[in-house]
Symmetry: none
Subunit: 215 residues, 4 copies
């Protein structure tokens, strides 16, 4: 224990003397009655993109999956370990969430890697390379576009990837069925870490439109 990162222990003490005190009853109730989050958020591991922070959410509100580049793979019931698929299944079938949000963000490292034609594997296993293959076809299209700036290609692929993940969500039979029965809603969102802007995907056009907090 003398090696546990001191900054985190300090943060824990602050939590215990601050927010936890305010929410002590809520934590106890959530422990006794179980969690009933209404929303599943698929977010990125990125240290700047925590949904609880961005949506000012407290305990019990959001069931959160976080992986590199906030992606949902297509439905593949082949018996392998599928952590994102397992989390989706648990959220939808056990916890019966009403909403799923796929939330991407700007400056996403996974997307940057996918766009880099010279990217070397980070290890012989090349897990990142294989994982980012989920977005490879789209990456190859965008990579070739010399008229867009690298920033524009980055943002474009981040949003394309959100749409791909949403399409992949719909390859899960129970997701599709529940959405069609209007018991489940799917949303896309994109957070600009540089200025705090939140962009929401319009369900009809699939464009991302800035949400004005003042409105």
């Amino acid at each position: 224990m003398n090696t546990f990162p001191e900054a985190l222990l300090t943060g824990y003490r602050d939590f215990m003397s601050g927010r936890y005190v305010d929410q002590r009853d809520r934590y106890r109730q959530l422990a006794e009655q179980g969690q009933k989050p209404h929303t599943l958020v698929v977010a990125c591991c990125d240290s700047r993109a925590a949904p609880e922070m961005i949506f000012d959410a407290g305990p019990g509100e959001l069931f959160v999956v976080r992986n590199v580049a906030n992606m949902v793979p297509p439905y593949e019931p082949d018996g392998q370990y599928h952590s994102t698929s397992a989390a989706l299944e648990f959220a939808v079938q056990a916890l019966r969430v009403k909403d799923i949000i796929v939330m991407g963000h700007g400056r996403c490292g996974g997307i940057t890697a996918a766009l880099d034609p010279n990217a070397e594997p980070l290890s012989p296993g090349d897990f990142i390379g294989k994982w980012m293959n989920l977005v490879k076809p789209a990456a190859e299209q965008i990579q070739g576009n010399s008229e867009m700036t690298s920033g524009e290609r980055q943002t474009a692929l981040e949003r394309i990837s959100i749409r791909n993940s949403i399409a992949n969500l719909r390859t899960f039979p129970y997701v599709k069925a529940l959405e069609e029965a209007q018991k489940l809603r799917i949303h896309g969102a994109w957070f600009d870490i540089s200025n705090g802007e939140l962009w929401l995907m319009d369900p009809k056009s699939q464009d991302f439109l800035r949400m004005d907090p003042a409105a």
Copy 2:
């Protein structure tokens, strides 16, 4: 956008008028310079177990993977999608984190499912069942113990699973090498959602000992 969960939009507005204002410069700097989180946290999707909350962490501090039951699978470079392995690779090889924390918690639904001998698959794909197979041998040992209460079996398996995930981390060659070179430290933690207690795994005995915030 009129379908995006209103509670989250309200939360976002609170974020933008509250914490974001305090940290605006930090977000901008993190966007321009990139993230340099020092710690990777493997946590559970559970809505009561967000590391940012528990460690009172701000943007840029923690690179967070969240899956059901905060598990790390063993190293399997077989070309499949491995989201947790990809996140681990990115954190260690690209971001060069110094610490990895596997953080479990009490009342974990995945662990409860693993201990339930009558558990039915949640879908034909049974993703949760397959995912929880990562902890199946240990679950079977504990399940048979009739002298322990169900609460004791639950807590025991939550902690055993953390130890298993830590062992799995060490099956990744670069993790093992970096740890031996003392450039990477691995920690186990367990958060009691009912009373806010944080228990840290002693590296020698592997027992979980309560961290006293007042000490």
Copy 3:
């Protein structure tokens, strides 16, 4: 008398010039009127687990049985010497205590011995071995669990043993009858000698929950 342990004589002098002076009247009254302790405590002989210390109890409060591993054997009216059963009978039928507490503790030597598959008898009579047979079935279940640490198995068996002793208390017909008539209450407690924590057994779940002295 020149052989009586000097440390104890010093302690006795301190007692007589300290606490005894404060409580002189109480001792006299207790001698004249007899003892009326309200609580029977079954505790361990262990030098770190004295109930008077842990509960800051003065003379007249606690009727205390202490044996190895604070165990209560099942009701066996076979005419043999049964010191714990005799003490229980005296406490309940003669002194009419209202509460019985079975109090275990961490690092209990008897429990450690019960968990040691290689334990040799301490003497040809093997009294400890026979005595610890009271908890043998549970010990064998726990011993086999290779996923738990030795510390976890120790704590688990300490608590299982408390529950077993409580069940054995209820095999005494008058204990059972008085409890059902709500004239006697039975409690389980476990004291962590390493940090002073006191854990109380929840009557419903039979889990041990930490008692927060600050609450």
Copy 4:
């Protein structure tokens, strides 16, 4: 937990904010290094006769067996449960105590019961009756003595019983051997609960002589 005797919880809080604070390091050390008490005390369950109080002993000092009338049965390796014999074995063979004290006290309820020719069993099992049979021959002798007051008969039998228990200690082969090798010393003591007096048994004459705390 809401039924646990409140007086004891209050006492525990006092302990934790008082004596425990002073001795925190000692408790931690005793937990890590194990207990090494030098003395076994056989004392009575009586709420007025706690050795820790009388000898002002702290954690780690005394290994304490408490039963009704502080008796040691003779050595009987017959495979039955023998809690006092087990505790003796553990103290002498495992903990290697250097001193054994059999400590009786005035107004002992067990002795009073043994002297009562009209005593009815407290239950069909009559555990107290059977237990006090350890001192029955001596009780019968004293009972017949009409010249002594009941108080004198009581005190006489309390002291006879201490001598009997000491003789029974010597029926344990390893006790006898260690005493003869001068590695173990046996002592008798008698505490007068009415006035705090401590009387120590002279090893030669076996008389009990008052220990003067001022000397």
